[in-house]
Structures are given as C-alpha cells and as structure tokens.
Amino acid sequence: MGKRAIEMAHTLTNPLRVGLRQERVISPQCLVIFGASGDLTHRKLIPALFELFRQRRLPSEFAVLGCARRPWSDEEFRSRMAEALSEEVSQHQSAWSQFSACLFYEPVDLQQQQDVERLGTRLEAIDRLKATRGNRTFYLSVSPAFYGSGCRTLANAGLLKDPNRSRVVIEKPFGRDYGSAEQLNRIVQACGQEQQIFRIDHYLGKETVQNILVLRFANTIFEPIWNRNYIANVQITAAETVGVEERAGYYESSGALRDMVQNHLTQMLALTTMEAPGRFDPEAIRNEKAKVLQASRLANEEEPWKCCVRGQYSEGGSPAMPLTGYRAEPGVNPNSTTETYVAMKLFIDNWRWQGVPFYLRTGKRLPKRLSEVVLTFREAPVHLFDAAGGSPTANQLILRIQPDEGAGFVFEVKAPGSGMRSRPVDMHFSYDESFGEPSDEGYVRLLADAMLGDPTLFTRSDEVEAAWRLYTPLLELIEDAPWQLPIHPYEAGTWGPGAADNLMAEEGLMWRRP
C-alpha cells in the first residue's frame, strides 16, 4: 500500500510544477524553539522546517536553535531530530545533512532569567556564524501556563526589543476563558507590540480554510447573495473519527468547547461571515474578523442550555471493531463530565446576518472525519414544479475543508423524462482533480508566515478575546451549574446525541449528513 501510494503520488506529480513554489522567501533569521525536547518539535515543527528547506524557501542565513531544560548538545539535538524524522531523512539524506547543519541547541529554562540572558549571547554568536542579522522568531512550544512568564523573561533579556526583528509564536490554547485570555494578552502585550505576537491556530494554515476568503472575495457571483436575504442558515461541522487518544490529560481539562469550538470552528465562522476587507492586508482582514466575532452571540444568552448540547461518546463500534467509551479511555476520569461533542446555535447581530442561525458542531468518535461549512439558501418563493423528492431541495453551497478538499453546489434541475419534475444535482470542485498536488501541512504555511512576519493567518488579541467572550455564558454555566447543560451520551461511531438533532428540528431543519 505504502509503495503504491508513493508510485501514485509520483505519477500524479506535475514535473513542470517542481521548484516553482518559491514566491516568498523568508528573510535571514534564527528560529528559537522553546520546548524543543517535546513532541510538537519533532512531530510538527522540524518536519515543517525541513519541508520548507527542501522547497528552498529558507534562506541560507538561517538557523534553528532548540531550547529546553535537557542538557543536550547541538550534536545530540541533531541526532535526535534525525532519529525522529528517520523516514524523511533516509529519503533526502543530502538535504538533511545541509539542513541539520542549521540546527543548534542551548539548554534553557525559560523561567530562569539568567538562562535567557545566556541565550541572548548564544543568539549573537549564531548571528555571526550564520549571518542571521538579528532576526529572531521565538516559538513557545511550552505549557500554556508558561506563556506569560516566558514572554516576560524574553522581554527582560531585551530579546523582544526590536519589533521588526523579533517575533513570538504562541500555541493554542490562548487562555481558558475570557478573563484568562484577557490577562494573558495584557502580559504579552506588555512584553512587545501586538505585531510581534503570532497566536497560532493550525486550522488557518489549511489551504481550504484560506480558500474561503478567495472564494468569497475573488468572485463576484457569491458576494451579492452572501447575506440574510438569500441564506437561510449556515452549518459548520468539524467531525473526528478518533477518540481522545493520548491527550486525555489535556482533554479532560479542556473538552470539545475549548479544544475545537473556541478556536477552529470560530475561525471558520469568522472567515465565512466577515465583511470584505478594504485590501488584502493582515490588519484589514483581522479587523473584519474581530468585528464579526464581536457581533456574534449565542442564540439564547439568558438560557444558554436552550441553544447548546453537550455529549460524550460511550462505547460503540461493531463486534469486530469495538470502540471504547470516553470514560473507559486511559487517563480519563471514570466519572468524567467533559464533553467530547458539542453543538450550538449562534446569531450574528449585524446588517448582513441578522436572524440567520449558525449551527456549529464538533465531536470525537463520529462516523466520518470531515470539516465543512454548509450555506443553505432560502427556498424559491414559489414552487412551480413537482419535486422528485417530494419537496424541492434548497440550494446549498458546501465548502469542504477536509478531506476531499473543495467545494460543491447543490441545485435543482429538470429530471429527465416527460413532465417538469425537478431534482437536486451536485456540482463539484475538487482540489485533487484540479491541482493534483497535495497542499502543505498547516504548520509549513504558518511557520513560514510567522518567519515572514505575515500575521494574516494568526489571531489577534481582540479576536481571541471576542471568541472567548462569545462562549462565556456556556463556560460559566458549565462551571456553575453543569446540570443545566447535561452531558448526553452518544454511541461511538454515530453522529452525536439525539438532542443535537432536536436543536435544529425546532426550526424544521436537519444537520447535513455528509
């Protein structure tokens, strides 16, 4: 299977495309990774950097400085990374030997000021060795509890003084609620300017998420109908087939609402609903995203339990492939009330979207892995024709984020034969069919953008706060009166609890079954 996949990939590669994707080359610089001994570094960051290197998008004046408490040497760091990426390294040995010469390591405890001062000296030495010109990107791949203090020690050591030459990338979650996000923003902004802070949400690194902007604002046919006059409702779904896997420790304290909705689904919501920016400029885009999030609210803020359903997967699957229930997963409290599924209804109080319901849902152990945005249009005012399915199907525009990336449009046509009966058909656009090439992994795009100093795909402080504020009534309810927002069990491998269907049934609607 593996070999065949490689052969297929080879056959499908456009030889004229090789080497052309070099539009933006990153300026000379040093990327400093805190938490370099952790999983994210060898699973995502170094592979993404190696990919950028192989695409020739990294300058020759480039270095990666890994930092963690472990007393590794440069050589040890290189060999550990090589071990972790053994498959890629064996396929591209010569490239790896060049790339690994850019890898350095410094034992640093980010909480210790003297360690960070010493780091400054090491960075100056790297500047001289690799001509990285004092440009630095600091990637905080550390526990969220250290984001604030980490920024402080960097600032105290003078490493964030130059807003044009130093940047900090912060992983999610950015805060646990509105209050903690606001406090963290205050700390971080006291250490540097907002333009230096890159809050990463890897969903925004997905080609198809970015395509929402292009589809909306590079075509004239969509924008005139992209509003309450034509759109009846919008569904945003992010479904996973996997369970909690090895993340029980983190997931138990976050749940689906914090893990998926506040960031990924909310970003999809913002891109789908924002106004057109005046120009393609990071601040113009982020202004519009922040504005629409500030205008968003739960459908019923007074009684939030009426517009939100929480669920938790129980055991399911088939006798041949049984699936464990959430509470029986390793590391999970057997009495856990953490939600693995959440569905909710929102409104956006502005001229474009007033009265249009937005339904968001996400869950683990659902039947399919998929993310999509579905815009359902209003029905034709008069039904002139008999519909083959009983009633005409409303037009739907489906933006498929993953997998089978692309877009689809459902519309009515005349069914063949005598008479004038209508039936729905699908029109598809598929990234695979049109482009063939797999798109970059999200981290490749986002790391490159951070090093380029392009914050378009990163969330700004006001966006993060607006997103947390949107869900505050729910978070408070879960905290103060969890019985009002009970956990509905659902069988693993199904589309979530029946209560989530009722949320839409009240309006005579149904979740789209992809």
């Binding site: 004229l16 990153i26 001289r128 001509a131 010109r133 030459r165 063939g436």
Partner: protein, 433 residues
C-alpha cells in the same frame, strides 16, 4: 515605489583615503552605532543608454542608473531614428551603441549610487558600492562616500543598523585602477552580492575581478551577445557560484502558466507525449526563449539530438531543434522571432508558446500560452481543430529590476536555483553554433 536619495550629500575623497575614512567613521564617528550585519551590494552600473540619451539631448538628467518611463519612451523614439529595426527593445545594447555614434554634448549631474530603491534600502545593505563608468574614457577616478543611519522614527529597536554608500566614478581605465581599493571595502564576514547591471559582453576582465566566488552574482542574460550570455551563465554555474539571472526570473509567469495548464491530473500524462513545442519571441535575442525551452526539456527528460538555424522573415533567424523523449519518440522544437508593434523593455521577450501532445488513443492536446500584450495568431493557426485546446494568457511581469533584486537580497540565496542550473547548459547547447 519611489527611489530614495541618500540624505547626506556624499563626500568626495581621494581614493586612497576611502578605506581609512570609513574605518575611522565606524570606529569613532558613529560611536554607539553598529553597522548593519547584512550584506555588501556591489553594483556595476554603466547606464550607457541613459548616459547617451542625456548626452544627445533626448532626456534631461540626472544620471540615476534607474529605468523609468521617460527613459524608455525616449529610447523607443530613438530606435527608428538610429535606423534600428522596429523589433529592437529599448534596453538593447545596440541602441546605446547607435546613440553613441550620434553627436551631442549635453551633460547632467551624475547621481548613480546615490539613488537607492526603497525595496533595496529596506534590506539595509551594510555597504552599497557602485562602480559608475563615464562616457569619457579618460575621466580620472572619483570616489564618493556617505554613511547613513535610520532616522530616529525609523529605528526599529535596540541597535542602529547603519550602512554606507561608496561610489567609484570615472573612465574605464580609472575604474580598473580603482579595483585594488575594493577588496578592503568588502566585509569578509558578510555575504557579498555583485549585481552586473550592464551587458554581459562588456569588460569581461572587470566582471572576472568583481564576481569572485563566493560572491553571489546577479546578471541579466537579455543583455549582451546571446552566445556570450549563455556561456558565461554556464561557466559561472559550473564553478558552484550562486548565479541569479534577471532574464530567468522574468520567465516566472510563463513557467507558472505552463505548469498551471498541466496541474489537473487528467492532463499530466499528456506531458509524456509531447510532440511539438513552438515559442514565438520578439526580436533576435533568443536567450529567454531558449531558457524556457531548456527548462521544459529538462523537466520532461528530453535529450537533445540536434539544433539548427531556421531562416525567417527580414533576415531574422529562428532556431529549430530535435529532442528525443524518454520513450525514444521525437519532439520538434522551434523558436521563431515574430514582428510586434511595440517591443517590451528587454530584448527577446516572449510572445507565445504552443505545446502539442499526442497521447495514444486520445485526441491530441494543444496548449497555447499568449503574452498579455498581444495575440499569438501564428500559433493559433493551422490544424488545431481536431485537438483539445487549452489557451491561457500570460500576465506581464510588472516588477522593476530593483524589486527583483530586492527579492533576491531578501531571500539570501547562496546557491543557483537548481532549475536555472539545469536549464542554462541545455539552453547553451540549443543555441546553434
């Protein structure tokens, strides 16, 4: 983006005093400031066309070294006046030479090296050294020096990243003598870029002396004798030096458009069955077309069998070639000069491309790319009715030389683009002897 003039009028110094003056400046005069740890940019800036247009009174000064609309318009007007063919590009070396035969004694201030394009200055060169040869071959060497630091409101943080500008101006003989003072002016620890912003024909010994590896060389293979341009590219690439060619960079939109035509997987298998490639170009400078043909041949794994001249209209010759595909079948390639109304800025701009594929058991596929500025009726004519036709318009590049240069500087490329490294030797073989 408007160019910036250095804020301070450069100081004229005797050449022997320049290194000492700069050392002194950095060690004492700018105490507390650090030189930007960036790169040295060494520019060969003859600007013969601008100098001749000014001398003959066709434009006013100053001599800036920058191509602007006024200059290009005057150059286009001068082409017929000098008796050159209409297909001559305004930046063709023949035009500057022809203008040199005409009378005129107009003069203007020479500000070469003092105009720094904002795109380039944004990269804060540590030292910008300009070699500015004058029309008067016997003019003695003049050296001008200016240091600059960001204004307080432009400063970006902890350290001032200051740089300096050095201009060496004089006749060719004087500039040759001035070479000795260059070496100590180039910071050994920083990358050095050599931008040969003139014809690749001229002053080979000076180019040899300036572009010593590992300095990174930037040339423009649309300027100079095609054979010399390609040989020089090949020779330099073979040494392992980082070579960047602005003419190659200008092919970006053509390469991108052609790749785009074959992005759908359903079309990709047709690339194994190409039978014919036609490229139409402006004028008689075939290097750009050759580089494009060579890139396609290299990417598709074709082997060159032969190349030959094809007689064309008005004495202009085309180039024909035969390649062998990996499956042993033959591919015919033709590059033809075609007449155009108004030429583009640089010699040998592309007008159109046609690629015909004949996959077995399917209708032939014909991909035609046309330049935005004109049609390509020659390529559209004849026998395409039975083929699946894919036609695209290639946008004109709209970036100045300085923007392209800034892109290179920002990227810090220390090696030749592998696509260029593969295409240049093949393009050299494609050009018939």
């Amino acid at each position: 983006m408007a160019p910036q003039l250095t804020l301070q009028a450069p100081l004229a110094l005797p050449p022997s005093e320049v290194p000492g003056y700069l050392n002194n400046l950095w060690s004492e005069g700018l105490l507390g400031s650090a030189g930007a740890a960036t790169f040295t940019l060494l520019v060969w800036e003859p600007s013969w066309l601008q100098q001749q247009l000014i001398r003959t009174g066709r434009i006013d000064g100053p001599i800036s070294g920058l191509l602007n609309e006024e200059l290009l318009e005057a150059a286009r007007e001068a082409i017929p006046a000098c008796g050159l063919p209409c297909s001559t590009a305004p930046t063709a070396t023949e035009l500057a030479w022809a203008l040199g035969q005409q009378p005129g004694e107009h003069t203007a201030d020479d500000l070469r090296g003092q105009f720094v394009d904002r795109a380039i200055s944004a990269h804060r060169p540590r030292r910008l050294i300009t070699l500015a040869p004058t029309l008067a071959a016997d003019k003695p060497l003049e050296t001008l020096v200016a240091a600059y630091c960001p204004l307080p409101e432009e400063r970006s943080g902890s350290e001032d990243a200051c740089g300096d500008v050095v201009v060496l101006r004089g006749g060719m003989g004087a500039l040759h003598q001035g070479l000795a003072m260059l070496q100590p002016l180039i910071e050994p620890d920083l990358p050095c870029w050599v931008w040969w912003n003139g014809s690749m024909d001229e002053s080979p010994e000076l180019l040899e002396a300036l572009a010593v590896p590992p300095r990174r060389l930037v040339v423009d293979s649309s300027s100079g004798d095609p054979r010399r341009c390609l040989d020089l590219l090949v020779e330099r690439i073979a040494t392992g030096q980082a070579v960047n060619d602005l003419n190659w960079l200008r092919l970006r939109s053509w390469r991108e458009s052609l790749a785009m035509a074959f992005d759908p997987p359903s079309r990709q298998s047709a690339l194994d069955r190409v039978v014919q490639l036609d490229i139409d170009m402006e004028g008689h400078h075939p290097v750009k077309g050759l580089l494009l043909a060579a890139w396609i041949a290299d990417r598709l794994g074709w082997h060159l069998q032969s190349s030959y001249w094809i007689p064309g209209d008005e004495g202009q010759q085309g180039i024909g070639a035969e390649f062998e595909r990996n499956d042993g079948e033959s591919v015919q390639v033709r590059l033809m000069p075609v007449p155009v109304g108004i030429t583009k800025t640089h010699p040998g701009a592309l007008v159109g491309l046609r690629l015909i594929c004949a996959p077995p058991g399917q209708a032939p596929l014909c991909v035609i790319l046309c330049s935005e500025s004109g049609g390509c009726m020659r390529l559209e004519a004849g026998g395409a009715a039975s083929m699946e036709l894919a036609e695209e318009v290639v946008p004109l590049p709209n970036e100045s030389e300085e923007m392209e240069m800034a892109r290179l500087l920002g990227g810090g490329h220390d090696s030749t683009n592998p696509l260029l490294a593969a295409a240049a030797p093949l393009a050299a073989k494609l050009l018939p002897q």
